[in-house]
Assembly symmetry: D2
Homo-oligomer: 311 residues x 4
């Protein structure tokens, strides 16, 4: 069992703040929870925290801090000790909006994380209060109406080293990975829960460090992914990869580039891993050459495009 509860929230920088904000609000259907200088705090109707995305007006695209919530105060302390033992720890911060003290660290590739336990639960204002009390917010149905932040894929020069750090120090569960014929590990799919993936590392072909591959937002059905493609098409959003099904993890996907240049995914599905002793699936080079589940070849830009770390 992982001592991480889940991934998020995440900071994303954009050099086109106005267009990016319009994208996340009008097209993706998120709500603005708060604004603070260059930062806008956004949430999906199914996010239980106050925000899952902090969009920051900047002079670049890319990812800032990636939050991780620990399972308990004790789990937080244990993970901090484990991180400190690796030498990658950077110390405690005061957290962020609605979130208590957080422990800052970097993964071996340089992506910045904050691990925390204390956080506020979202308390909707009257106009966003849902009819059913077991969901966090009202389903407004605006645009794609994404439900919540689901997972992140970050690029790394050395996938194996980062994967080992996440499994060993953070207690992530490793479900699938790719190993080329020469032994290079080019992808690792990890999760803190039964969901197919929450934290993914894929190899950065450029050799750069700390880059973001994509941030994925959840919808409950494949039909919503198909509908999202129609919405992107008619809103002029660049579709990088049309809806189809991944072989790895079995998720259904739609990929595109938001106006600030960051890659985003609308996702659903994905297998559940109920076995506590589930063996890690290792995909070979030959198997990956078959493309996605139904034979769709991965688009070339998927292997090269990423957005840089922002300090």
């Amino acid at each position: 069992m992982s001592e991480i509860a889940h991934l998020g929230p995440v900071e994303m920088h954009t050099p086109n703040a106005e267009e990016s904000l319009a994208f996340f609000v009008d097209v993706m259907g998120m709500e603005i929870e708060a604004q603070d200088g260059p930062a806008t705090y956004l949430r999906g109707w199914g996010d239980y925290q106050r925000w899952s995305l902090k969009l920051i007006a900047s002079d670049t695209s890319g990812m800032g801090v990636l939050g991780l919530r620990a399972w308990s105060p004790e789990a937080l302390e244990r993970r901090v000790a484990a991180i400190e033992a690796t030498g990658l720890g950077e110390g405690w911060t005061d957290g962020d909006l609605g979130r208590g003290r957080s422990y800052r660290f970097r993964d071996p590739d340089g992506h910045r994380f904050e691990l925390y336990y204390e956080c506020d639960r979202y308390d909707p204002p009257e106009h966003l209060r849902p009819s059913l009390k077991n969901v966090p917010g009202r389903y407004t149905g605006r645009g794609i109406a994404i439900k919540r932040l689901d997972h992140i894929n970050v690029l790394a020069a050395d996938v194996r080293a980062n994967r080992e750090f996440c499994v060993d120090a953070l207690t992530y569960r490793l479900y699938e990975r790719i190993e080329l014929d020469d032994g290079t590990e080019t992808g690792a799919w990890m999760s803190a829960t039964i969901a197919a993936h929450e934290l993914i590392y894929t190899k950065d072909a450029s050799g750069a460090n700390g880059r973001l591959h994509h941030l994925a937002f959840w919808v409950d059905t494949r039909e919503e992914c198909l509908r999202a493609a129609d919405i992107w098409l008619d809103h002029g959003i660049e579709i990088e990869a049309a809806p189809s099904k991944h072989a790895i993890a079995q998720g259904f996907f739609l990929y595109g580039i938001e106006p600030g240049g960051n890659r985003v995914e609308v996702t659903t599905g994905g297998r559940f891993v109920y076995a506590p002793d589930e063996p890690c699936v290792v995909w070979t080079e030959a198997e990956r050459a078959k493309g996605q589940a139904w034979g769709v070849k991965t688009v070339e830009s998927f292997h090269t495009y990423g957005t840089p770390p922002v300090a």
Copy 2:
């Protein structure tokens, strides 16, 4: 083959104009094409005409004029002659927004119709121009985002007389009907195309005349019907019948009451009738007692509630 091309546009009166307009625009996702005094002309993104619904601020709910487009100028003349022969004709009008001269008549139950051929084709403004040129308008994805007006169900004191008028004078095709053990016809499902139904008559238990049962708007998938129920739930729209599948015509449905009191349906599916000699399916009293396709009992209000004719 029917000489009617299709049904619509339709006039709907509402005593709560502001709330009804908000419902059709924000919840159903229609666009405002024009406004003229108490009337607002509305359209779905897939309607090829300029408008399919004319919402009229009034002191009552209910239906006004129901438009029917003839297949050709010649078909229009032939149908007018046939209507005049029945004594139900009322004469030519100048039409309405974007529509040429129209022939006004009433069915035996008193519902008002206008039959026309000439009409403008929708020419979207830049911000509503679709990416693919074989659809009329942009898919904005707002709320339910209904595609177009699909069909209408009107109540009648004598279903059989009205059905015979529609088949004989208007050349509708009759696909399904209900006949009780005592021989009373309590419902008739007619279409001008291969679609399962466009014009439906059901028996008015109150014995009143000219009432509207419901107006149905099309979405392309059942998932959109399910999603529509979530949207209605969280917008405080009264759900009269939750999504399920009709036995008759096989359509998938969601029924509710718009803020002006008129019943509306979000619909998809329904069988296609390709056989030119398709026999009419006659449902018996015992068969109807089984409920809808999956056994859902028809809600009681469905048999009693309707909105009145507006002169």
Copy 3:
């Protein structure tokens, strides 16, 4: 209005009769209605005629006779006269299983057709009788469980000449076509109904005549198309094009090659054309270069692979 009611049934030849039959029965979920020497008559649960596909054990793949049902006995006579006037008529035959006398002709490219009106309506045996009497057969749910034959795409050396024949002599409605910069017509989408397409001609790059591009079978939902891809994948059927949405006609597709070598499609969706005066959409070379609706590029084999005519 077209005087053709609909397309089908169709003859398909296969050099791997056993595997092809297993494909259509076990994977596509069709029922065997009759067998006669090398021919097996197959149907979908929603086909109202006794059969929609005649699979013929042969030494080649390819299409035999393509049936078209006329709207009425009078329409049949009028269309035969029009065909005879073109010099492409070949005379009357005795029809086929459950079908009366039929008029044999060829289109300019040499594909063989039979036009008929008289045919038997399917009368299911007890074990295939549906619970609801407005569908032709029981929904057994075996494999993909296709509902019915939907449309055909045939290759032609000269698309325009064949399209003109279909519109002029057969009264098909022309909804969409492709015209290259040099004026060549490379595709034409025609229908006898409001459905987006039933008879499609696309240019045969090889210059051959009479070839089949694909035969398409209908399912009611996009989810069934996605599920069909899973079923093909796990039954070893070659997926040529994974599920996605066409720009032209807006249909949702899955393409593959059945064991006999013929291309088949599982399809749903597609726009409805309600306007009697709908203008034909003409796609340019530049527009087609954008790929399908969501940007998926058409697979190369789609432009080159076809199966030959069988005399």
Copy 4:
């Protein structure tokens, strides 16, 4: 975090063994893994263990032993100690097919459980080997093609006592419950994972003990639930509650009675609970009177019908 990994396998008794087996194989689409005297071991294509349902020819309907897999050997020992401390333990058994030693106990209401850790992982024979190696079995697409066992709902005379036992001794997480105005707890929804529910107790109005309410099998999409209703309809399976969405836990459902008299559900959806400190949602009597998510009233038999324990 729960020390239980997941629920299952389950034993189900049937007085109509042949018809029940045909139901689970042909209609639900399960595979037979083994047979042993009166018992048939069945699995869904997505079950990672060798079997999830043991169907036992018997003179009654009802549930036998309900299996629970512990997270680890150590978790197993800790839970056994906790159970023994309650006095409800019965001792170790040799397990069952493909499962190691198991600890037998009863809940306060008398339902029989076996807790285990050791079990075989399913190794498919060639004809059931999937194309993608991250799923356990081939997707044959037969009938409903359920993926796996999902959850169980058992009736209890005293819901609160059983819920407390499951939370305290078994470490289940409690997500939602119903408390009437008089303080009676009439339902409790518990899970070992982020999935909305795995183990549910609802009040037995008859005051009996040890009864089964229903066993639920998972499909990945709502469309498959709708399709399942069509399949049940045409296979003569009694539909008790047509597809709709639960308010509690947000699952999508279809309920019916298998030929042996046991209630089964086809389910999908349901909320995910990512917060480690998620508060339990308590539904009041007034809230439950509103029916399911979209207002569908719970069928009366749902409150009264259950099948007895089998020793």
